[in-house]
Amino acid sequence: MIPLLAAAPAYGLPSYLFVSALLFAIGFFGVLLRKNTLVIYMCLELMLLASTLALVAFSKFNGTLDGNVFVFFILTIAAAEVAVGLAIIVALFRKRHTIQVEELNQLKH
């Protein structure tokens, strides 16, 4: 059993922050390790979601609504970001016929 979770029987703010940090780290390592641009994008989404979880947890355990309202804005921005990013990926695929990042090195040469 994880000591952090065992120490807090009524799971409070630290446990939620723990899950959020774990989710963020998974997304971060996904961005670093994967080569498929679409999967990198999904991992970026995971990182955004981790930050929303932390915001909602802070909001709840401080008794305010500001964090929750901020999550609304984050969700809106994320939706717009996905639309633009996927349009860029499609345009890239049309030009280069690949979405593997190690083959997209035209700026190097």
Partner: protein, 167 residues
């Protein structure tokens, strides 16, 4: 009850997020992202934000993951390519994971977190509306304008230019 739910939902969220990263096939990764979102929505409900959970499912599961699947099928990339990691990458990952563990350890050992207030009302639709249309009125307008710009950007990006047109 809520403690058990927290364990179940957080394990579901983290495990499926891990599978998003480790999956060879992009379609399967999108499906696991969907499952992770469901777990996260459950956590939001546990945190007294059912409206946000609803919006999360609506926007992410309804729009974002569907868009991902659509693009994956459109591009028809070859699945199953998962090149081996370089030693440098593995070393960097281990170092990063160690730093993360250190951060979590210091959070659980040293952090002085505020005590939760005694009685907090569950945020209702009315509370959200009050906040959004008084305190956060300007950000709402700016976000609306940004959505318009994003829409225009997508149209410009996905338009096919013929050579005669560009010259």
């Amino acid at each position: 009850m809520s403690d058990t739910l927290f364990i179940i939902l957080s394990v579901l969220t983290v495990a499926t997020a891990l599978l998003v990263v480790l999956n060879k096939n992009a379609v399967n990764a999108a499906m696991f992202l969907l499952l992770s979102l469901v777990g996260l929505a459950g956590l939001f409900v546990l945190l007294d934000a059912p409206l946000l959970a609803f919006v999360l499912i609506l926007v992410y599961a309804g729009a974002v993951v569907a868009l991902f699947l659509f693009i994956i099928m459109l591009l028809d990339t070859t699945p199953g390519r998962f090149p081996a990691f370089k030693p440098m990458t593995i070393a960097a990952s281990v170092l990063g994971a160690a730093l993360l563990a250190l951060g979590i350890l210091s959070l659980s050992e040293r952090a002085v977190l505020p005590l939760p207030p005694k009685a907090v009302a569950v945020p209702t639709m009315k509370n959200y509306a009050e906040q959004l249309f008084t305190t956060y009125l300007l950000p709402v307008q700016v976000v609306g304008f940004m959505l318009l710009i994003a829409m225009l950007g997508v149209i410009v990006l996905s338009k096919k230019y013929t050579p005669e047109e560009t010259k």
